[in-house]
Amino acid sequence: MQIDPVVLFFLLGLAAGLAKSDLKLPSALYDTLSVFLLLAIGIKGGLALAKQPIMDVLPQAMLVLLMGAIIPLLLYPLLRIRLSQVDAASIAAHYGSTSVVTFAVCVAYLSRLNISYESQTTLFLVLLEMPALVVGVILSRLKGSAAGAAKQAGHGWGKLLHEVLLGKSVVLLIGGLLIGLIAGPQGIQPLDRMYLDLFKPVLTLFLLEMGLVVAGKFGILRQHGALVLAIGVGVPLALSWIGIGFGLMMGLSPGGVVLLATLAASASYIAAPAAMRMAVPQANPALSLGAALGVTFPFNLLVGIPVYHQFTMLFF
């Protein structure tokens, strides 16, 4: 298995971080890159939507939304075996939502292997961002005690929905989607020099930073050890099958199924942590971030994506 060059940047960051190099990227750069990547993905999704009759995509979109809502519901009781209600709800929401960067790396992986995929998969990414967060909020509110801390902090339903619907990543993804849809290919074309051509190179800088961040999260592993590791590896492997199942149900091509499996298996570390911090403040962010960012993210990049590809090929 040959590693994609963009992943090498992640490994560089990881190595630098673990070796305690004084390399660090300014936080303004991280913010800028994530705004860029979210907008670019949103626009790409909008262009995909613009290209085909909405009625063709609608059934698939519905299924994707359903998948986003189902994942945390399936995950929650499983996680409850070993975790408190709040931690289970928070982690379920993280894994129900998705990681834009993991998706982008999977796209790079498919392109390198010349495997085609449906253009609407980018739209699926946008659609998957939110439903799991809503479900996560609901789960955390199910029983009085768990809702207590959020209420104590003054985070009622209104505030939580606001956070979920108007968080930075949702706004940029949906906003980009609308811009791509309204402007169409001709309108966006003058912007391609940045939003298209620079997408992959910008991703390398982002991955460099992610490597540094993940290295910083390894301390958590030492603390919570086996549990975080088990969640971080086991959950994506299990979820990839749900993604494959939905992908087959939708009649996607092999490439499309791999992407959906990867979306299902990836965990959010932009939208979910902020939303869950508001909804279930008692949940330990070290657990959810440790699993989602410290384990699942590198696992998917380095091992998961080719594995989901193998899984998928069992059906074609």
Binding site: L25, S27, Y30, D31, R277, Q282, P285
Partner: protein
């Protein structure tokens, strides 16, 4: 010109709480405050500010001692249990005491 004694409440907490705190200040009729980006370490581990969910802010707020203490206690009660939060009070002297 005279200098008037006031109290300054300083908070270091998670950046996700900024909106909540500003709302609270407005409700409590606090007339001014200053916010600075910060990172640090405490009981909730290290906050490096290098990515979204990991940022701290430091808020300084001058008012009379009673309000500052009451505010600190309210913030403590609402956010102290589950969020990274450190607060301290110090004594300062200001010109234009009526501003605070």
């Amino acid at each position: 010109m005279a200098f008037y004694p006031k109290s300054m409440l300083t908070l270091v907490t998670e950046a996700v709480l900024e909106n909540d705190l500003v709302e609270l200040f407005n409700e409590r009729k606090i007339r001014g405050w200053t916010i600075v980006a910060a990172r640090g370490k405490g009981a909730h581990g290290e906050k490096r500010g290098n990515f979204d969910a990991n940022e701290n802010i430091q808020i300084e707020l001058i008012t009379d001692t009673a309000s500052a203490e009451a505010l600190a206690e309210e913030i403590m009660q609402r956010f102290g249990e589950h969020f990274a939060l450190v607060q301290w009070l110090s004594e300062v002297r200001v010109l234009r005491g009526e501003k605070f």
